[in-house]
Amino acid sequence: MNLDSVIFIISAAVTLFGAVMMIMQRNPVASVLYFILSLVAQAVLYVQLGALFVGAVLIIVYSGAILVLFLFVIMLLNLRGDEDLGAPSSPVSQLTKYVVSIGIIAEFAFVIWSTGFSSSIPTGIIAGASENFGSTEQVARLLFGRYLYPFELTSILLLAAIVGAVVIARKENGDEIESKAAAKTAADEVTG
């Protein structure tokens, strides 16, 4: 039982705890905070797998930006966790949902178990990996080298998402109505 194993067990437990608490919460703000807890523990797992830069990016971008976006929306909609979510579904329906999800977990777990990946690959913060595995430099070489085109294409995806989000969330504002009304009065003046 070395230090790496202890860190792995703790961070794995915190990850799963945060995820389970996230879906159990009634208050969406608590939900987001539990998700952030889960993400921080996941970043520790990334670091244990040698992905130093990706682990840092997970905390900065994911819990720092995407989840703050969720918090902003919760604040905008003024949700307090006491919204009417309707009556709980029937016990049979509930049971079916849990059975389906446990079935999915069991299926994946069986596939992994039966494939029998070698457990001998050393993982851990200190052990394993060559000197600069997962370093910022190596990630940058991949992103701006072999994966340059996919990398550039994601910028188009982001542009589409920005424009889409603005168009969807925009309120039917006064400008359009006013200009229509102005056009109507102008037309009335011409005809009248």
Binding site: V61, V73, I105
Partner: protein, 100 residues
């Protein structure tokens, strides 16, 4: 000694929690976060395989997945705001206009 298999099991459990969240939650925001959780589980698996094969291509791929997750969150939350303005509810059972 723990190995890649253990990380994969954690990823599977996370994915399963995400699936459960999508199935049982009636709150649209928690549902969106559960989808994000499933993407995260996939990321963890990619990183684990990347370490197992000792190639770093997986790290570049995780960035693309992160971008997709960010785009999905932005568009999804914009839709949540619009629907909330029309329906005054975050209960997904109330979003039944296309259901017959």
């Amino acid at each position: 000694m723990f190995g890649i298999t253990h990380f994969l099991f954690i990823a599977v459990l996370l994915f399963g929690v995400g699936v459960t969240g999508v199935l049982i939650s009636r709150n649209i925001i928690v549902l969106l976060m559960s989808v994000e959780l499933m993407l995260n589980a996939a990321n963890l698996a990619i990183i684990a395989f990347s370490r197992a094969l000792n190639v770093m291509d997986g790290h570049a791929f995780v960035f693309l997945v992160l971008t997709v997750a960010a785009a999905e969150a932005a568009v999804g939350l914009a839709m949540v705001i619009t629907i909330f303005n029309n329906r005054r509810s975050i209960n997904i059972d109330k979003y039944s206009l296309l259901k017959w």
